[in-house]
């Protein structure tokens, strides 16, 4: 009896807490081949990457119940992925990176950008860089794109991630530097919308003046200290063809116009996603009405 309970629990934990290890072997074998002989000066370590993936699997699959939509828009090449930022902490980036590894064949290892203070944190800095993150620096982005790597860019920056409840899903101003980098390296831009992350912390207020006094980038206050299990849907838009983009020598006004178009496209994806948004129980709005 004890044995069967033990084996049942072991089977349950294997099914629930661990990803399909055979699939994971195939993914990381493919990545090993992709990265064979390539040197990574930022410290990417595929073993660390895999370990972190396994540790976060439960949260990815069963807590945030991530779904990746429109996978057919992707080709087997590198992209500069442009996304909306949300959720107070950068869990949206982590979930996107996991989705592009696990849900797409061949896997797309996406390099996230980190703030300047992150590498200074003992132990954490090494773990973060081991999972493929790099310092958010223009030269780093340029080098990664020249090496045909995928990078994830949140052009809203901190303003995007740290929004009050009344601002949820309202896109903030986009920076424009990313477009010039894409043009310089002839990299396709892939717009994506992340829906569901704002509800990790559904009630948030910010104190910008106190944050400024304390020299902090933001100071959010929320009654829920841990992120709530809001299901996350990632919608992939159609990649922007480089032919339709302005040239590298375009004026700032032309670049701004294209960035605005891209912002509108991501906003359309968000609005489509919000219509089908799942609630905390995982039911889409249409389903719950039925």
């Amino acid at each position: 009896m004890n044995l069967s309970l033990k084996s049942y629990l072991s089977k349950l934990s294997q099914e629930y807490l661990q990803p399909d290890l055979k699939k994971l072997d195939e993914i990381y074998d493919a990545l090993e081949i992709q990265y064979e002989g390539k040197n990574d000066p930022w410290g990417l370590n595929l073993n660390t990457h895999r370990k972190c993936f396994e540790y976060f699997w439960f949260f990815y699959k069963h807590y945030f119940r991530v779904k990746l939509h429109n996978k057919n828009h992707l080709e087997n090449k590198n992209y500069m992925i442009i996304a909306n930022h949300s959720g107070q902490v950068a869990i949206d980036a982590l979930l996107t990176m996991m989705a592009f590894i696990y849900e797409i064949n061949p896997p797309h290892l996406v390099r996230g950008m980190i703030e300047r203070f992150v590498p200074t944190i003992p132990f954490v800095g090494e773990l973060i860089t081991g999972t493929g993150h790099v310092l958010g620096d223009r030269k780093n982005c340029l080098y990664l794109l020249q090496k045909k790597e995928n990078i994830l860019v949140f052009p809203e920056g901190v303003k995007g991630i740290a929004k009050e409840t009344s601002q949820f899903y309202k896109l903030q101003d986009f920076t424009t530097g990313f477009l010039r980098l894409a043009l310089q390296t002839k990299t396709s831009i892939l717009p994506i919308a992340i829906v569901g992350a704002e509800e990790f912390y559904p009630y948030v207020i910010h104190f910008p003046k106190i944050a400024k006094l304390l020299k902090l980038p933001v100071l959010p206050l929320t009654p829920t200290l841990i992120p709530l299990p809001s299901p996350v849907d990632i919608y992939i838009g159609k990649p922007l063809s480089l032919e339709t983009l302005p040239s590298q020598k375009s004026t700032e006004k032309e670049i701004n116009n294209h960035v605005l178009e891209l912002k509108n496209e991501i906003n359309d994806l968000i609005q489509t996603g919000l219509k089908q948004k799942r609630n905390y129980l995982g039911h889409a709005k249409n389903e719950s009405r039925k």
């Binding site: 990574d40 000066p41 300047r116 003992p122 310092l135």
Partner: protein, 324 residues
């Protein structure tokens, strides 16, 4: 300015160092008929009897240099004589490093210019860029030199580099000059801090950080110094392999078992030991925390992508052989 093709005599400053001796041998092989004079204020550990390479121990004073330049008609000057922080004893003060590195270097260059030298090769270091958490990977030659902002100990190194590059551009129409900023040079003939660090049986390494490093083999560096004579136009060049290696992997390749310690513990110990006279430069701990990776794209345009004979693995493994 003498014709660069007819090199007849070369002066090497810092000849007691292993790199200078290797460079002299490379130059002798490339130009068998030239006369090489190596000078240093230190004694040579081994007596050299190579034909055409002579060694003189001199005091680094203006008079001695003037006599030397006037007695020999040098075509080329290799200035490899940076005072290493690692081998300084307590009696070697900061002012001495400033006297030689900063004031002395400029005087030597002025003498070389006035007495007909056609090319100067000056050896600086990648340390001038400084190790910092916000360094992008692959710093090019135009990156700001931030090392002395964090560590006053590195003021002489940065200022000497500044002096050399300023002097170079000011006199670019009168004399050819190359400033090289190599990454960590390691090898069996040199005893710099990094070689000592790697070849110990156990060296402390940070448990809480693991930055990427670049290493160049001493023989590769000597060959690049030799090639810089004819193949590099006036300018500043980083010298490093394209690849990097994490410091823990580097120690492991060298057979160094290491002591994993959090840097927050190591740093105060080093500061204390420094007060007791330890020669270990404490700024190196910053280089064990954060990366300072340099780009070799400029020098590769002139010397080719395959200008290094040793890859990173071979470079580090050569240190293991030396331990046996």
């Amino acid at each position: 300015m003498k014709a660069e093709n007819n090199i007849q005599s070369i002066l090497i400053i810092g000849m007691a160092g292993g790199l200078a001796q290797l460079t002299a041998q490379v130059l002798k092989k490339t130009f068998p008929n030239i006369k090489i004079i190596g000078i240093d204020s230190r004694s040579l550990k081994k007596s050299k009897k190579d034909d055409g390479i002579s060694y003189q121990k001199i005091r680094y004073t203006r008079n001695e240099f003037e006599k030397l330049f006037r007695n020999h008609s040098f075509d080329t000057l290799f200035h490899l004589g940076r005072l290493s922080h690692a081998t300084l004893n307590i009696s070697t003060h900061f002012s001495e490093r400033i006297d030689f590195g900063l004031v002395g270097t400029k005087q030597i260059f002025d003498l070389a210019l006035s007495l007909g030298v056609s090319k100067i090769v000056f050896l600086s270091t990648f340390h001038v860029y400084g190790a910092s958490a916000d360094n992008p990977a692959f710093l090019d030659e135009e990156a700001p030199l931030k090392a002395s902002i964090q560590f006053a100990d590195l003021r002489d190194v940065v200022e000497t580099d500044f002096t050399a590059t300023n002097w170079m551009w000011k006199n670019q129409n009168k004399i050819k000059m190359v400033v090289l900023r190599p990454c960590n040079i390691v090898g069996t003939h040199i005893s710099n801090t990094m070689t000592q660090y790697l070849t110990h049986k156990r060296s402390p390494y940070p448990l809480d950080y693991n930055p990427a490093f670049q290493f160049i083999h001493e023989e590769d560096m000597a060959h690049i110094l030799g090639r810089s004579l004819k193949e590099l136009p006036t300018g500043v060049y980083n010298v490093a392999p394209s690849n990097t290696i994490l410091i823990r992997d580097a120690l492991s390749l060298c057979g160094n078992e290491g002591w994993p310690l959090p840097l927050s513990i190591i740093s105060p110990i080093a500061q204390f030991l420094k007060k007791l006279g330890s020669p270990f430069p404490e700024y190196l701990f910053e280089y064990l925390k954060y990366p300072c990776i340099i780009s070799n794209s400029l020098i590769s345009q002139y010397l080719g992508d395959d200008c290094l004979g040793f890859d990173l693995k071979k470079t580090l493994q050569s240190l293991v052989k030396s331990k046996k």
